[in-house]
């Protein structure tokens, strides 16, 4: 028998995920062994492990890409950037969790442990370069979030959300697995690096098998990132889950799933006619932007509105993904046209440079969306009262009426987040949209950019409705603000609002860093 030899250096890229796993185990053990009823130490402990994992992934961000574990995973600037985004989302979600859970008498180590377990899955998913490893990590992150969704077992809503998420999530995992099996059948390998070599021959021999596999895999990913037409679960699950968990799902799960999708399709797209992934992701992007934003328009429930808005934002991210597949030559055939414009690189732009631009836009948008969305769910978590949850009025727009007089700090933070989600300068949401749409225009995807700008303009309506309620409507007489004041929530809101404004005005440092990381990754 040949014993596999794994160099010790291969374990280094796993350190952030290992830190998160150790943190989860420590929280489980302290939960059962510390008999004290006070659990105030749990959030700071989780923050410590999250910060440590984030710091380690930041420190390795500029190491050149290298495969580890014989091509099952890879350490590269891309995975480090995604892990960092996941750690930011996790840290902010943990901060908002402590006050939220304490006011419901539900602060337990299991909650933080599940969050850390799920985050380790997200971090590993961003590194996976082999279909089975990728699938297992999707399951790790999913199982954690399934359990977290129905963590607060009060009323029927969390049960419905958890059950729906579990059934539909398992179904989408099965679709993804079916696609992976077809791709394996066509190429004879599950490693992306080996598939890249065999793919041209496999496409010539069995094109139907490859395309069917790629479509099924894309469907599985589209479910995880909540792209239309695979978005049906999103509003119910986001509404039923505890609000800090919704924040982690909408930021962390999305970032990790996008990372895996980009990794897989950069390999698959290289072998096939570029117009196929281009059409696939452009189509998904059109549908997701339009349907997500239109469905958000009539929502009076702010949590559902944010859920639909999260679908819309997946659409903007898909524009960036589509821009990754534009090539220097016009695609073969009758010319693949969108709104009269043929996707073609702008003159003087090399293929690698265009892809690096698109990738930089995607990563920046993920970071921008993370700080903004986790912040806005943080305000929601601070405002909602648990006794309103069964009635479904806990997140009604009326809850925001007159917030500016009663809690000016929260109202200001929420206004900043809403403007950022709507893409109004000088917030980070504007910079993110600017980068994505510019890369769409540079690659000739003018139609996508136009629809993106139009739907963003429509979205301003429902985002500003919250601001109008907070600043221009009087507070109801009998309305009392819940006293769920906690240092964690306040800190999370302050940090995210600060990040939204500072990154919106001075994005230079981060965009330079992401540009460097993207070029470093794609240049090889």
């Amino acid at each position: 028998m040949r014993v596999p030899s794994i160099p010790a250096a291969d374990f280094l890229p796993l350190v952030p995920a290992i830190i998160l796993l150790v943190g989860a185990c420590v929280l489980l053990m302290t939960e059962v062994f510390l008999r004290s009823p006070s659990r105030g130490y749990q959030a700071p402990l989780s923050l410590f492990f999250t910060g440590l994992a984030g710091a380690v992934s930041l420190s390795s961000a500029f190491e050149p890409a290298r495969p580890v574990f014989q091509g099952f995973a890879a350490q590269d600037p891309f995975s480090s950037a995604v892990t960092l985004v996941v750690c930011v989302a996790l840290g902010l979600a943990v901060l908002t969790s402590s006050g939220f859970l304490r006011s419901r008498n539900a602060e337990r180590g299991e909650f933080y442990a599940l969050m850390l377990f799920a985050a380790s899955g997200m971090s590993l998913l961003a590194m996976s370069t082999e279909l089975i490893t990728l699938f297992i990590n999707i399951e790790v992150l999913s199982v954690g979030t399934y359990a977290l969704t129905s963590y607060l077992r009060r009323g029927t809503r969390p049960a419905e959300a958890g059950f729906k998420y579990f059934i539909l999530g398992a179904f989408s995992s099965a679709i993804l697995l079916y696609g992976a099996a077809l791709l394996y059948g066509a190429t004879g390998s599950t490693k992306l690096s080996e598939m890249a070599v065999v793919l041209p021959a496999a496409l010539a021999a069995q094109p139907a098998l490859v395309y069917a596999g790629a479509l099924l895999v894309a469907g599985g990913f589209a479910f995880k990132v909540a792209a239309v037409p695979f978005h049906m679960w999103t509003p119910d699950v986001y509404e039923g889950a505890p609000t800090p968990v919704t924040a982690l799902m909408s930021a962390g799960v999305k970032a990790a799933a996008f990372a895996a999708m980009i990794r897989v399709f950069l390999v698959l797209g290289k072998g096939m006619d570029p117009s196929v992934p281009l059409a696939l992701f452009s189509g998904l992007a059109y549908l997701t932007m339009i349907v997500g934003n239109l469905l958000a328009l009539p929502q009076r429930n702010v949590k559902r509105m944010l859920a639909y808005s999260s679908i819309g934002h997946a659409g903007y991210l898909l524009v960036g993904v589509a821009a990754l597949f534009v090539t220097a030559e016009a695609p073969a055939g009758d010319g693949f046209r969108f709104f009269g414009a043929t996707p073609l690189l702008a003159p003087g732009l090399s293929e690698v440079a265009a892809r690096a631009d698109a990738l930089k836009g995607l990563l920046f948008y993920l970071l921008a969306y993370t700080v903004t969305t986790v912040g806005s769910f943080g305000v929601l978590a601070a405002l909602e009262r648990s006794e309103d949850e069964p009635k479904g009025t806990a997140w009604d727009l009326d809850r925001f009426a007159g917030l500016a007089q009663r809690r000016p700090g929260w109202a200001f933070a929420m206004a900043v987040f809403m403007l950022s989600l709507g893409g109004v300068p000088p917030t980070v949401g504007f910079m993110g949209k600017l980068l994505i749409f510019r890369s769409a225009v540079d690659t000739g995807l003018v139609g996508l950019a136009v629809v993106g700008v139009l739907t963003s303009a429509a979205a301003i309506y429902y985002y500003l409705r919250v601001v109008v309620a907070m600043y221009m409507r009087p507070a109801p007489e009998d309305e009392r603000i819940p006293v769920t004041l906690s240092w964690g929530t306040e800190l999370a809101l302050a940090l995210s609002a600060l990040a939204v404004v500072v990154l919106g005005i001075l994005p230079g440092t981060v965009t330079d860093w992401l540009q460097q990381a993207s070029t470093l990754w794609l240049g090889q």
Binding site: M1, V3, I6, L28, V32, F33
Partner: protein, 123 residues
């Protein structure tokens, strides 16, 4: 003509076919040749030897579920431990360390459920 890539699966298809034919044949023969002397007890729904009483959709205590879950966890552990034990010599210290990490993770889980009281049947 090039042999079909499915050719190696032909024996499998034959086995499947035989299994189907055999099952149908046995049931047919039993119903044709077997004597029939029905009684009240024999016509009852078969429920593992128990007397079938009440609705089939009764609810079970959640502790059965916990035990089933724990069983699967340690069942899977055994699945990994056996091949590891067989190849212990070749795998050496690296394999030992890997399995120690794996077992330690499961032990953390076991300590957790133990302290949580999930192993107490009378609760």
């Amino acid at each position: 003509m090039e042999p079909s890539p499915l050719a190696p699966y032909l024996p499998l298809a034959v086995a499947l076919l035989l299994a189907g034919v055999l099952a149908v044949a046995v049931m047919l023969l039993a119903s044709v040749l077997g004597p029939r002397r029905p009684s009240a007890v024999k016509s009852l729904a078969f429920e593992a030897g128990n007397e079938p009483v009440g609705s089939a959709r009764q609810r079970f205590a959640v502790k059965f579920y916990v035990v089933a879950l724990l069983f699967i966890v340690f069942d899977v552990e055994a699945v990994f431990l056996y091949p590891w034990a067989v190849n212990f010599q070749q795998l050496g210290w690296f394999g030992y360390a890997e399995m120690a990490v794996f077992a330690a993770t499961l032990v953390v889980g076991l300590i957790y459920v133990w302290k949580k009281g999930a192993l107490e049947w009378e609760h």
